[in-house]
Amino acid sequence: MKNLNMHPYIKICTSLLVIVVLFLFSKSPIAQETDNTLRVTSDDDEMHLEKQLDELLTTTYCFCGCVRETNKACVCETAQGIENMFRNRLLEGKTVEEIRTAYLKQYGSQYHAVMKAEGVNLLAYVMPAVILIAIGGVIFGIRHRSRGNKVMTQSDKQISDELQQHLESELDKYKNQN
């Protein structure tokens, strides 16, 4: 019985370990997933089409005015029309890239819902890191400056708000007396 008197953290860890081990030796669904290529069914073509359509709808914005809503999320009439158009083009045998390029060429690049980190967009992705580093630099600079001016600021500190307030009230009193 003495052995079972463990620290609570150790108990938790042991329990978690047991769960993991049990899971590893059970018939895992991971094994079932290892070869998806075997899933050849009659619905394959339709599934492929739906997947392509989904990719198109999620990577383009609707131009109806519901700004920043992808064609997948937008529930307006325009988005419905776009979906039908995409579906027809896919059935005609056009690729996702061809359809998307044509859409963006017609309506403008602002309707592209994906911003790949390439070309000029790379700058957009890099800049946040630069901003963080730059602000760090500013803070470091301020900190460094505060170190350098320690002696001066001690004397400055002597003029507190209360003291200044007192001086001002004394000055006012003096002015009123005169």
Partner: protein, 725 residues
Amino acid sequence: MDVLVGGIQSIAAELGQAAIFLSIFSALWAIVSLLIGLRVRKPNIIKSGRNAVVATFILISIATGALIFSFVTDDFSMKYVVEVSSAAQPLFYKITALWGRMSGSLLFWLWLLTVGGAIVVWQNRKAADNLADYALIPIAVVQLFFVMVVTGWIEGVYNPLDRFPGGQAMVDGQGMNPLLQTPSMAFHPPTLYIGWISLTIPFAFAVAALLSGRIGTDWIHRSRRWMLFSWIVLTIGITLGGNWAYRELGWGGYWAWDPVENASFMPWLLGTAYLHSVMIQEKRNMLKLWNILLITLAFQFTLLGTFITRSGIITSVHAFAQSDIGWYFMGFIIISTGGVIALMAYRWQRLKSANRLESLLSKESAFVLNNWLFVGLTLIILWGTLWPIISEAIQGEKAAVPESFFNKVVIIPGLILLFLTGAGPIISWKKITPNNFQRMFISPLFIGVVGGVVAWLFLIFRAHAKAALEISAEAAEVAMPNLLTRVWDFITFSGQPMPIFSILCVFASVFVLVAIFSEFYRGAKLRAKRQTTSFLNGLGLLIQRNKRRYGGYIVHIGIVILYIGIMGSKGYFLLENGKLKLGESMNVGDYQFTMKDSFLEEHDNFIRSGVEFEVRRNGGKPRTMRPSRHYYYTAGQGEQDTIESAIQHQGMNDIYIALGPLPTKEILGGKMSMPEKIDSETDVSLSIYHNPLISVVWIGVAVMVIGGLVAIAEKSITTPRSQTV
């Protein structure tokens, strides 16, 4: 009777116009007399300046009252009333039409600003010094700018009290944009305005500190409650906006990094940074310059938000509010920032810190890191918001910045901030000692790691269970891989992207909760022991004695809840689009949706058309959901129909249905279209969402607001005039 009402309407409008023009002089009077009075130290002149601030408030109240009167009495001889109201519009929305479009919203903004000025005068009527009088100068300057904008002299906006020439009057108004005729939109703009305007007051006190040379903590104490008030109201305002988007826009989300959402969020971030950094100035007499810079930035970002909203430089869901006026805001931002920088240069010597950071592992450093990240996040969001313009300047084509960009770039600083939410309160001042680390950090860190591991396991089981469902029976017979492969697949999610940020979020959340609750527990236990009372009484006493500190901790708990909600709702939502006829069903996750019936209801100013769904979870008890669209008779400048999503809460999760376009018939010779009843042959397109943990988002915000209210309850330190004279 009509003649009498018409006469009163005419007088009210004229009176309102006169009040606006008179307020130019009162605002100018306030600035000049306060500047001269404070310079020559003449109490009478200073008092005159204060009175002028109150006079501006009275005048603008008259103008605002006149406009509201025009709305309530359907005065369609006024341009603004015709633009945003109609006779059939419910009274509530006639009043909220005041901020329905630009002219009125600017008048409303100005009125709130004058209320702020009047409160500052009243609050400081017994103050021992003239700091508040100095603060009234920048307040009056901002008021003057807004008065000038409201007069209609500036191109791009007209005076909201303007009437049609020649005494003309329209029969009816165009009505307010239907998207704005919802309760959350009725309260969202005013709360945001109140939040932004109350940021003006701490900014004004910062300028007052620079003008008067009292760069101590006095200005911070005097504006502390204003800052907290602003923070609370902004939190509520931003959330109401998110709630509106969730309910009204039909895309199942509450935050999409829209430029205007960003514009409201950036001052909030800077305000939050300021609330933390002032503590260092109060405790350690450090970061004086930084604090003034922060509050100036926070104030300027409120104006920048207006610039982004109104200038039309960036496309946004708030496109109904665009004009050239944004550029005048930009000018004011540049001039006022320049003024503050000049004052800072003038007071340079006094802005130096009296102390320094002694260690990188200290509370001060944690606060500095917190500030670094808050300001960094603000600028990153600004960068993303302005990227369409920048990209256009570089390549000649506007790029759209998707939600995913912002999610990617803010996630790491966001998670570090979450961690600091717990580390900040438990780390010691000056320098962390091994004892402090062991006592305060070990347990939260360990339990946080356990929480992260549990989350990791949960997500693995969830992912594999989902994968198992998607795999056909034939595939199940595929050869079993060896143990090593299985282990590897297990920990790497079988090649699927590992939700590392979710795991880190859970780790940090658990860490913060343990750290904060330990603080409460230790404090309450000690208090209960000292007062020989119960633990709960001890807890009550603990909070009562230091509302600011423990209110802040409650806010931190709210932040954790919010993060969890965001993680669930943004990371794990399901969306299915489809088309159904009456009687047909579709499945989303565990739910089955059957379209049972359709309906058409007539209301005062719109017709509601929709369908009735029967929803069952795993074949369980049925529930009814009624998504619809509203078709307005008069629609102002907006679309005629709005999406009225049906939302049902299932514990902390929501199921959400939004309808696509419904069948309509044209009336009035094709000028309008009104809905027809949906029959069994009609295909209804719809989007169905399953949004996990979305209620947690609203709960998190509520907890944050409660924490803020506790913190604001602590009285500020003020010295009455009687004690010093």
